[in-house]
C-alpha cells in the first residue's frame, strides 16, 4: 500500500499514541492502579490477555479477572508488593489502513512477592515480553490482544541457572487464582536448562489490513 504524506504522518501519530498507551499500562500496573488498567483495553468480545502459566482470559470479564482480580490477589493489601517493568526493544507496525497495529517489547523488571515456602517478601528479577495487537476505537487506540511470555524469573540472590524458574514461580503466594477461559496460545518461553530459547513471537513487519494479521504463522513460531 503506497501511503500519501498525510497518511505517513497519521501512521507516525498512531505509533506515538500506541507508545504512550503501552507506557500508561506500565505506569498504572506498577502503581497498583489495577482498576484503571482494563480501561486501556478494547471492549470487543474478542479482546484477550494471554499470560504464560495462566492461560487466556477473554473479553471484558476475562481481562478484568486477570488484570484486576488476579493482580490484587498477588498484591494482598499492596504493602511491600512491588512490580516494576519497563518497555524496551520496541518493534511497532501500524497497518497501512491505520485501523490496527502490532507491537513487540521486551519488559525487563523486578518484583517483590511473598513466597509460600518462606512466608516472606522476596526480591525477584522478572523479565518478560509483551506481544500486542492494538485496535483503533472511537476512544483512540486500545489494547486488543496482550500476550505475556516470560524470559526469566529468579531470586535476587540465586540466578535462573541456580534455581529452576518454574519452581520459583509456583512458590509465589496469592489469595485466589482465576481460571482461564482457554489454554495459552503460545509455547512457554521461561528459561529452563532443559530447553533452548527461540524467537517465540516473530517481530512484526509492515502490513496493510486486519486480514493480514490473521495470516497463518504471523506471530507464532
Amino acid at each position: 500500500m503506497e501511503l500519501t504524506l498525510e497518511q505517513k504522518i497519521e501512521r507516525l501519530q498512531d505509533a506515538q499514541q500506541i507508545r504512550n498507551l503501552m507506557a500508561s499500562f506500565s505506569y498504572l500496573q506498577a502503581a497498583h492502579e489495577h482498576g484503571r488498567v482494563p480501561g486501556l483495553f478494547s471492549n470487543r468480545e474478542d479482546a484477550y490477555v494471554d499470560c504464560e502459566g495462566m492461560g487466556m482470559f477473554e473479553g471484558a470479564d476475562g481481562i478484568r479477572r486477570f488484570l484486576h482480580d488476579w493482580q490484587w490477589s498477588l498484591d494482598g493489601d499492596g504493602k511491600g508488593s512491588f512490580n516494576e517493568h519497563f518497555l524496551a526493544s520496541e518493534v511497532l507496525e501500524v497497518a497501512g489502513d491505520g485501523k490496527t497495529a502490532r507491537g513487540l517489547w521486551m519488559a525487563p523488571g523486578c518484583e517483590t512477592r511473598k513466597l509460600n515456602s518462606t512466608g516472606k517478601m522476596t526480591a525477584l528479577w522478572v523479565w518478560c515480553r509483551y506481544a500486542v495487537d492494538f485496535i483503533k476505537s472511537d476512544e483512540g487506540w486500545k489494547i486488543w490482544h496482550l500476550r505475556i511470555p516470560y524470559d526469566v524469573v529468579c531470586d535476587y540472590h540465586a540466578s535462573w541457572v541456580e534455581k529452576d524458574c518454574k519452581t520459583l514461580v509456583n512458590d509465589i503466594a496469592y489469595n485466589s487464582k482465576p481460571k482461564a477461559d482457554r489454554p495459552s496460545g503460545f509455547v512457554p518461553a521461561l528459561f529452563s536448562m532443559e530447553k533452548t530459547t527461540d524467537l517465540f513471537f516473530t517481530p512484526p513487519g509492515p502490513y496493510d489490513t486486519e486480514d493480514d494479521l490473521t495470516a497463518a504463522g504471523f506471530w507464532m513460531q
Binding site: 504522518i9 502503581a31 490484587w72 508488593s81 525487563p108
Partner: protein, 236 residues
C-alpha cells in the same frame, strides 16, 4: 485546536527532539559532563530540580548546586565512580501549541560509589524522571525535573533485605558522598517513592495526556498525586 498537517509533523518532530534530549542527558551524566547537563536546562528563574530525599533546589543556582556541585562532590577524581542509567518507557505529550511538553520515563541503572572506609560499593538505583519541558528560541530545554526513585540497594543486599530503614543507614549512611548532599530550598513536591514493605506503591505523578496549552494543563492540576485506598479498591 485542529492542527494543520505541518503542525502535526512539527509535534512529532518535537517528540523526537525530546527523546534525544533526555537520551543525551543520560549519556552526559554517565560521562561526568555535569556542566553540559546544567546547560540543558532553561535559563528561566523558575527552573528547578526536585530529587527524592533532598527536596526542591530552585532556579539556576539550585540546579547548578545539584548537577555540578553535588555530582562533582560524589565523583571526586571520578576514578572508579560510575553512574549508568537507562531511559525507557517514555510517555511524552507535547502541547498543541508546541511551546511546552510533559513526560515520564523509567530510568533503571547502576552506580559505583565510595564508602566511608575507602572501599567502593556497587548499587542498583532506579529513578522515574517526571519532566516539564519548555521551548526557548526553537530549542527544547528542561524546565522542571522531578526525580522519585523506586529502588536503591547494593549489589549484595536486595531492596527487601535493606528495607525497614537499613536502606538509608546501610547504603546512604555508608557512602562517603552522603555528607555533601545539598539541602533543598523547599520540601519535595511529591511523596517519597522508595520501596518499602510498609507502603503500597502508588501513582506518584498522573500520566501525561494530550493538551493544548500550558495554561490549560495547569488548570487541570496535571501532576497532582492520585489517592489510593489500599483496600483493594482504587480511589477516584
Amino acid at each position: 485546536m485542529e492542527l494543520t498537517l505541518e503542525q502535526q509533523a512539527d509535534r512529532l518532530w518535537d517528540v523526537w527532539q525530546l527523546r534525544n534530549l533526555i537520551g543525551k542527558y543520560q549519556y552526559l551524566l554517565t560521562a561526568h559532563e555535569h556542566a553540559q547537563v546544567y546547560e540543558m536546562f532553561s535559563k528561566r528563574d523558575d527552573i528547578y530540580m526536585d530529587c527524592e530525599g533532598m527536596g526542591i533546589l530552585d532556579g539556576p543556582p539550585g540546579v547548578c548546586k545539584f548537577f555540578i556541585d553535588w555530582h562533582q562532590h560524589q565523583d571526586g577524581d571520578s576514578m572508579g565512580q560510575f553512574n549508568v542509567k537507562t531511559i525507557t518507557t517514555d510517555l511524552i505529550e507535547v502541547a498543541d501549541d508546541g511551546l511546552t511538553a510533559f513526560a515520564l520515563w523509567k530510568g533503571p541503572g547502576y552506580e559505583t560509589r565510595k564508602k566511608l572506609d575507602g572501599s567502593s560499593e556497587v548499587l542498583h538505583l532506579w529513578g522515574i524522571p517526571a519532566i516539564d519541558f519548555i521551548k526557548e528560541d526553537g530549542e527544547w530545554k528542561i524546565w522542571h525535573l522531578r526525580l522519585p526513585h523506586s529502588i536503591l540497594c547494593d549489589y549484595h543486599r536486595s531492596w527487601v533485605d535493606l528495607d525497614d530503614g537499613r536502606r538509608v543507614m546501610g547504603v546512604d549512611g555508608e557512602l562517603k558522598q552522603s555528607g555533601g548532599k545539598p539541602k533543598g530550598d523547599r520540601p519535595s513536591g511529591f511523596r517519597p517513592n522508595f520501596y518499602s514493605q510498609d507502603i503500597a506503591n502508588e501513582l506518584t505523578f498522573e500520566l501525561p495526556v494530550p493538551y493544548r496549552t500550558y495554561d490549560e494543563l495547569a488548570q487541570k492540576g496535571f501532576w497532582a498525586v492520585k489517592t489510593f485506598t489500599g483496600d483493594g479498591e482504587d480511589a477516584e
